[in-house]
């Protein structure tokens, strides 16, 4: 999983490493925007600091030539809902006059198991679309992680992409810096799109993407501190899942799903769909969950108003059926009336002990995964019909 830095955070990281960036200031209210714009000098770009793609198209980025326009931009962007995220802050940035827009990026090519550097002269648009429609427009250079990026590789990628000779050295230098950052900061993706080319043949990073491998945050204390700030906003339930430390994804349907192990939980989602229901979520309690964690998982799914019924499917390897049963009892015994019907299927380690402990007055028990899912979907349909 990757932790995504905000644009302003990524720009700080890039600028500290020597990548040219436009001057900018963060602001969280209209007055702050106007002060910042005054100091930077018009024209400025006002950019929503939320982690969703396509901010510009969604109205989250506006250009302002003067104070009136800056006020208008600030008022419309601050507080707006951008694809489910409330905009709390904007970056006020010097508007760069450019003649050309490039793309440079570093990511892990999982198929090759190697990092790959990418350069394209088709910057400023969604690079995934470029990759799909015109793959040859992106020059790729695989990097041996034991050596890092050789200088010739940076040059080669830049020349292969067809970058104009007048800026080739500067672009290669930005790419080298980007790789060094990606490597030293445990990046999963580091990207500048667009890297703008000015009339004076300078290059400047007009946007910045830096995603960090969450598994490596233990050795990136500085970035780990940015994490809380970066994680601000977002779905209330997903925040709650973070507190409980669950792998959780909220979906559109009404059948709540709890299980252990990513592959089996995904399979449970698929079976809900197969039997005509719609999954409300993906929730993986992980391996070896104890009773409290099981109770938290139920609390999590009950908190979702969309959920009409819940399937609890555990195949114990290191997770024990007796712990699961205790957790389910604990979570349900506090209710006078069970808020949503719960179907339980236990298999694997200590499932017999679990079945003895489980209070069957509170739940419906099924022996197989298929039966459990079918029953849960039927319960959800009953609720919908009412």
């Amino acid at each position: 999983m990757a932790m995504k830095l905000h644009e302003y955070q990524a720009k700080d990281v890039f600028a500290d490493a020597g990548v040219p960036t436009p001057s900018s200031q963060l602001a969280s209210d209209v007055d702050g925007v106007l002060t910042a714009a005054e100091e930077i000098g018009y024209p400025v770009a006002v950019k929503a600091q939320v982690q969703v793609g396509g901010r510009g198209k969604a109205g989250g980025i506006k250009l302002a030539e003067d104070e009136d326009e800056a006020r208008e931009a600030a008022e419309s962007i601050l507080g707006m809902d951008l694809k489910g995220y409330r905009v709390e802050r904007v970056l006020v940035e010097e508007a760069v006059d450019f003649t050309n827009e490039l793309y440079v990026g570093i990511t892990m090519d999982r198929g090759e198991g190697k990092p790959v550097a990418m350069v394209s002269t088709k910057g400023g648009v969604n690079i995934e679309e470029v990759a799909e429609e015109d793959p040859d427009a992106i020059a790729r250079e695989h990097i041996d992680p034991a050596f890092g990026m050789h200088p010739f590789q940076a040059r080669k990628a830049v020349y292969d992409a067809g970058v104009d000779k007048s800026v080739a050295n500067d672009v290669a230098s930005v790419l080298t810096t980007l790789y060094d950052l990606w490597e030293s900061r445990d990046g999963s993706d580091a990207e500048i799109n667009p890297l703008m080319v000015t009339a004076d043949d300078d290059v400047i990073a007009a946007d910045a993407v830096m995603n960090i491998d969450e598994d490596a945050l233990f050795r990136q204390p500085e970035l780990a501190e940015m994490e809380e700030e970066a994680a601000s906003g977002g779905d209330e339930l997903e925040q709650k899942a973070d507190e409980y430390d669950f792998d959780y994804v909220r979906l559109e349907g009404n059948v709540g799903i709890i299980g252990n192990g990513a592959g089996l939980v995904m399979t449970t989602l698929d079976l809900v769909d197969y039997y005509g229901g719609e999954p409300a979520n993906f929730l993986d309690v992980g391996g070896g969950a104890k009773a409290e964690r099981i109770a938290n998982a139920l609390d999590m799914v009950f908190s979702d108003d969309n959920v009409d019924s819940v399937v609890f499917n555990i195949f114990g390897g290191i997770t024990r059926g007796d712990e699961v049963a205790r957790g389910i009892n604990e979570a349900l015994e506090q209710f006078d009336e069970i808020p949503k019907p719960v179907v339980v299927r236990l298999a694997g380690t200590n499932w017999e002990e679990g079945m003895e402990i489980l209070n069957e007055d509170l739940v419906t028990v099924e022996q197989t995964l298929e039966d459990a899912v079918e029953r849960t979907v039927a319960y959800a349909e009953e609720v919908t019909e009412q």
Binding site: G111, N260, M266
Partner: protein, 290 residues
């Protein structure tokens, strides 16, 4: 017959003095696995369950003839532990650890091209040859000795499918959990090759999931090189793009690569039936064996 592990396998457990390492070393021994040594820096000279602990894997190999390592080392140190295993003459290293930084695995991946030692994992349940030995954390009691080879990216999904097979009286030669990370040692193609060359394996179950292109590569390999019948399963048909489903590797990217549909189509094109449910996978295996 079986692949990779049997009752002659001599195991060193890296991280045997830690909570998980100790517990699962015991469980492996109870199952009959020949655990001959532990390796934990600074703990040389101790014993766990009557097994001698050494400071280095090299010593464990020299003193106890270990040929296989199972790694239960915390993620921050696991990359280094894998390098240590690869620096000896082991046949096999199995990394159970979840959460190894991806860049560490990229370096390991490079090292694997320079050694004969095979890596399974990381972030995997390990592997088991029923009735002989298990390496890792799989619950031994659901497996039975038989003729079906199984390879899977997911632990609990493996258990689900194995349970369906065992309940029908269909046993397994070896089951291999290859792990849910983006960069892994042994992949589907490697495992399929092993099963294809194993005389006792009469049918193969392959459980994939969304993300990456390993299943598509496996389908191409099956088409060209595998005569043993294969039954497939793909988890994550309902996963929306851009959302990671638990495993670091299980994500459909925005540009549409790694979808269940693409994997199912590729497998179908290679003549591999893909079950809609785990029970259907067992049905398909049953019909292969008739």
């Amino acid at each position: 017959m079986s692949v990779l592990v049997d009752d002659d396998t001599r195991v060193v457990v890296q991280g045997i003095t830690g909570g998980e390492g100790k517990f699962h070393a015991e469980q492996m021994m109870e199952y009959g696995t020949n655990v001959v040594a532990g390796a934990v820096p600074g703990k040389g000279g101790q014993e766990v369950n009557g097994v001698p602990v050494f400071d280095t894997v090299h010593e464990a190999v020299a003193e106890e003839d270990a040929d296989t390592s199972v790694i239960f080392v915390p993620p921050a140190f696991a990359g280094d532990a894998v390098f240590e295993a690869l620096d000896t003459d082991l046949d096999l290293a199995v990394a159970i650890t979840e959460g190894i930084p991806t860049q560490d695995m990229a370096k390991v991946n490079k090292r694997l091209t320079e050694t004969d030692t095979r890596l399974v994992g990381p972030n995997c349940p390990g592997l088991i040859t029923p009735g002989e030995a298990k390496l890792g954390i799989l619950p031994g009691n659901i497996f039975a000795d038989g003729n079906v080879g199984l390879v899977s990216r997911s632990g609990t999904l493996t258990y689900q499918v194995v349970d369906s097979l065992t309940n029908r009286g269909i046993g397994q030669t070896t089951a291999i959990g290859i792990g849910g990370d983006p960069i892994i040692g042994t992949d589907f193609v490697d495992a399929l090759e092993l099963f294809e060359n194993d005389d006792e394996t009469e049918a193969i179950v392959m459980c994939g999931e969304i993300g990456g292109e390993d299943e598509e590569e496996a389908a191409a390999y099956i088409d060209e090189h595998v005569d043993t019948p294969v039954a497939g399963f793909i988890a994550g048909r309902t996963a929306p793009p851009g959302k990671r489903m638990g495993h670091a590797g299980a994500i459909v990217s925005g540009s549409g690569t790694g979808t269940a549909e693409s994997k199912i189509n590729a497998l179908n094109d290679a003549g591999v039936p893909v079950g809609d449910t785990p029970e259907e996978v067992a049905d398909n295996i049953e019909s292969f064996l008739e």
